[in-house]
């Protein structure tokens, strides 16, 4: 039997999806839904990983998917942070003004605390270097955790048909 395919390329694709979903303005709101964008990137990485298998290769395992999701999270944090900086450098003011006009000057019945939070966000200035590092570290932790979860969910969705429930620890 041939060896299993490389994990890096599928993780790279998943990481790029993760980064795009985390960096594109408005699209990144998907992550407010319990980090759905990051989880989706982990699932996508497993999908690409499965697609790179040929029939003569041994089937992938849940351990492989865990590693692919984790790696996708690692890459996604880097891609997401870099793209966020790029997007805010290019479109920062444009997007801010657009969102400000749409949300604050509309007749939407926003609660006071939400309106205050939005105004605070719109007044936020560009981040200094130290804050970028902190942001990246936070992104790294979160993307790796949720990427790993995405990898495990991906295994559940795309796993080979021959499978059984794993042995459970006995109740304490």
């Amino acid at each position: 039997m041939n060896q299993q395919p490389d994990k890096f390329i599928p993780a790279l694709y998943g990481g790029i999806i993760m980064g795009l979903l985390s960096a594109i303005p408005f699209v990144n709101l998907i992550n407010c839904f319990c980090c759905a964008g990051v989880i989706l990137g982990g699932v996508a990485a497993v999908y690409f990983y499965r697609s790179s298998f040929t029939p003569d290769m041994p089937p992938f395992t849940s351990g492989d998917c865990l590693l692919v999701g984790l790696l996708a999270g690692f890459i996604g944090a880097f891609v997401g942070t870099a793209l966020s900086l790029l997007v805010s450098a290019i479109l920062g003011d444009l997007m801010r003004e657009f969102a400000q006009n749409v949300l604050l000057h509309s007749n939407l019945p926003l609660p006071d605390d939400i309106r205050a939070k939005l105004e605070e966000a719109f007044q936020e200035k560009s981040k200094p270097g130290a804050m970028i590092i902190v942001t990246y570290v936070f992104a790294l932790i979160i993307d790796m955790i949720f990427g790993l979860i995405g990898g495990l969910i991906g295994y559940g969705i795309f796993k080979p048909k021959v499978d059984a429930m794993p042995p459970m620890p006995k109740p304490f």
């Binding site: 939070k117 936070f138 080979p160």
Partner: protein
């Protein structure tokens, strides 16, 4: 089997710590009002939650680090992980359908909120988030244990 038990303990500890982190700003702010720790925790969770005050649970007058729905998801996941050794369920359907079933009430709650006929409430956010969390915990924990066994033995015991 020892590795499985150890992996389960690691998972349970991680989930408990995550939930404790969500509540920690309330406790820390009550004990040490000037501490910077709550701000760091809020900044950390701001990446994955809107943290709107009106949609958040409060303890000692201080809001949790995440909203009601996210809090319910995390607490539900912890409950699901705790239930795993007790519930030795045979899966009645494919896992992808179970995920869809778990996410459907929560997605309906979010999407219907955009219509003029329905508004989410504390109860609906906690109920749908908690349901999703419990199912997620029940589905993810066995796969995680399986993955750890697979990595530690460098082969998947279920595939051999």
């Amino acid at each position: 089997m020892n590795e499985t038990r150890r992996a389960y303990q690691i998972l349970l500890t991680a989930a408990t710590l995550w939930c404790a982190l969500v509540v920690s700003p309330c406790v820390v702010r009550a004990l040490a009002p000037g501490a910077a720790f709550p701000d760091i925790v809020y900044a950390f969770f701001s990446r994955i939650c809107h943290q709107w005050d009106s949609h958040s649970l409060h303890l000692f007058g201080v809001k949790f680090a995440v909203c009601e729905r996210c809090s319910a998801i995390y607490a539900g996941t912890l409950a699901g992980i705790l239930l795993v050794p007790v519930v030795r369920a045979s899966r009645p359907m494919k896992e992808r359908w179970l995920w869809l079933l778990a996410v459907a009430p929560m997605a309906a709650d979010v999407l219907l909120n955009a219509t003029p006929w329905y508004a989410t409430s504390l109860a609906s956010r906690v109920a749908t988030g908690g349901f999703f969390g419990v199912v997620a915990g029940l589905l993810i924990a066995p796969t995680f244990l399986n993955a750890c066994a697979s990595l530690l033995h460098l082969h998947d015991p279920l595939q051999s």
